[in-house]
Amino acid sequence: MPQIPMAAEPILAIKNMSITFTSPDEADVEAVRQVDLTLTAGKTLALVGESGCGKSVTARAILRLLDKSALLPSGEILFNHGQGTVDIARLKPDSLAMRSIRGAEISMIFQEPMTSLSPVHTIGDQIDEVIVLHEGVSPKKARERTVHLLDQVGISGARERANAYPFELSGGLRQRAMIAMALACTPKLLIADEPTTALDVTTQAQILDLLRQLQDDFGMAMLFITHDLGVVAEIADEVAVMYLGDVVEQGDVYEVFRSPQHPYTQALMNSVPHLRRKADRQRLSPIKGTVPSPKDRPAGCAFTSRCPYVFEPCAGTRPAPTEVGAGHLARCHLLARTKMEALA
């Protein structure tokens, strides 16, 4: 008899989270609107969207790394660290509780390792520091762990390389060192913000492969932020598509790629050139216009100004998420209407 799998307890549940940026002389800007995301151990959720859609801000909110001008007016970020749940949204960014989570239980890797690593410290010292700070072990013990970590992320000659400065390493090696640092305290959640965008394709393939393998070894949940649909298809279990602060569609990666339901997701997929023989090549169908500024976002659906199927309720009323498949949600009035018609 097949065993019924236990419903996996989420590591992190973001519920109804909004992020607002304030400014002394301008109106507040809501950069992220009521986002719901769930991360489970051993699974990767990809957050995909174009520049300015709020994907990086969402990630930084989880670590409370946002600027002072950013507020979290509503919502919860529930983090399950094994001994109960804390609401990160209610912690002070500089509190002891938050600092013990940041870098240890939830860690992050960034797009450009050259700017996020210290140029004046060796990579070994930088990784040692994380271990010493969070675990209070001796520097000598910490270095042993560091060497082991560098070895695990595929840096050959780890003991010698630990004494290298970031400028002495190639882009791929630097990103590996960054990953080793993020994994130093075996985090429950790893946030990767465009970790391969600055890398060449062959190096990108190596880093994606490494992340997959480390996820198998460490069993952490991963939030992977990218603008590249190819990378999403390669690494994600689940995907959430963001547009102008809204998660417009989310669900299982196979399901969403097989049948995208939101007009923005469909349009995004049609904008990417597919590998085709010349005879089968089709002209790309780009999305018309450009992404409006968050200040000019309509009260209703964020995609109203560029959507080919726009009708009466779109500009004024924000569509609620409609379930279009098992765990596959999309915020679009068209889907709600079709569903109503089907029920009627």
């Binding site: 174009e50 090696l173 393939a205 492969d209 190819g230 049609n270 990417v272 050139p273 023989r277 790309l284």
Partner: protein, 343 residues
């Protein structure tokens, strides 16, 4: 199709560190490059960072001098011109025919100039038009690239990345060029905007009868836009082939590696671990002996470590590769399904 540009045995060597500290070193950025571009085609140059693709583009438009070799431009109804032999003054008329579009539209547009002046500048420099005629030509080309004429009085910072790239394209096209070199022209743009600019380039090619040299690292974009692809690695051309042949059956192991590393927007076609590329690109100043790719090549033999393969036509086709074993290897292409018999 007639040839519009030919490059013969072009090399570019940069000299480094000629100063107080130690002897100078030489960095061979381009190693004996030969290629021809046919009028009306789009030739793509692909490769990873540091492979020399941008150096090649810059040597072709004479933005920097080549160390060795020749670049010929073939005007439609005149004898070919050796661009590499001309003085700055003699080059000027040919600069109207061969234009460049740059990657980052923010750093290639003067922030202190209005859009109108940015686009008018080439016309003024070449003394082609003035007064009413100048105005007409500027507004005409702005309309063609999709910039509304009432925006001509604004400065570059007021535009989005995609619009700035359109202004850069207008600047290149206002002189009615024959050959346009686009260096990573869509790489900095979001996918939806990238698609708009790719379609625009396509339309303009049709309308102006242009030839493109399209420099890019993105094989997906290259497959979409190119008729012919040149693959570069460490300053060498390792493969030069029509797009369909190259993606169907690459003849150089490096091309195969690039194609295997390309993420495809379809989760059902995930790559297995077996296709993960090996090793890293060596430092250019530390180029391996023999075939430049042998340190990463899974098919490498002893011969590859000692003897450098020349670029040659494979099996009498116009697919060229620089690999000793190009005929023998059965390399993997990137198309989803084998070619249909009918359709």
């Amino acid at each position: 199709m007639s040839t519009i540009l030919s490059v013969e045995n072009l090399s570019k060597i940069y000299t480094l560190g000629s100063g107080l500290f130690g002897p100078s070193r030489e960095l061979v950025a381009l190693n004996d490059i030969s290629l021809t571009v046919k009028a009306g085609e789009t030739l793509a140059i692909v490769g990873e960072s540091g492979c020399g693709k941008t150096s090649l583009g810059r040597c072709i438009i004479q933005a920097q001098p080549a160390t060795e070799g020749r670049v010929y431009y073939h005007p439609k109804d005149a004898a070919k011109v050796e661009l590499t032999a001309l003085s700055k003054r003699e080059l000027k008329p040919w600069r109207r025919d061969v234009r460049m579009i740059f990657q980052d539209p923010m750093s290639s547009l003067n922030p202190n100039m209005r859009v109108f002046d940015l686009v008018a500048e080439p016309l003024r420099i070449h003394r082609i038009a003035r007064g009413r005629e100048l105005e007409e030509r500027v507004y005409d080309v702005l309309a063609k690239v999709g910039i509304p004429s009432d925006a001509a009085g604004r400065y570059p910072h007021a535009f989005s990345g995609g619009q700035r790239q359109r202004i850069g394209i207008a600047r290149a096209l206002v002189l009615d060029p024959k050959l346009v070199i686009a260096d990573e022209a869509v790489s900095a743009l979001d996918v939806s905007i990238q698609a708009q600019v790719l379609n625009l380039l396509d339309d303009l090619k049709e309308e102006f009868g242009l030839t493109y040299i399209f420099i890019s690292h993105d094989l997906g974009v290259v497959n979409y836009i190119a008729d012919r692809v040149v693959v570069m690695y460490l300053g060498h051309v390792v493969e030069n082939a029509p797009t369909d042949l190259l993606f169907e059956r690459p003849r150089h192991p490096y091309t195969e590696m690039l194609l295997a590393a390309l993420p495809v927007a379809d989760p059902t076609r995930r790559k297995g671990r077996s296709t993960t590329p090996r090793g890293e690109i060596p430092y250019l100043g530390n180029r391996p002996q023999g075939c430049p790719f042998h340190t990463r090549c899974k098919y490498a033999q002893d011969r590859c470590r000692s003897e450098k393969p020349a670029l040659r036509a494979i099996d009498g086709t116009d697919q060229m590769a620089a690999c000793h074993f190009a005929e023998a290897l059965e390399l993997q292409g990137a198309f989803e399904a084998p070619q249909k018999a009918s359709a």
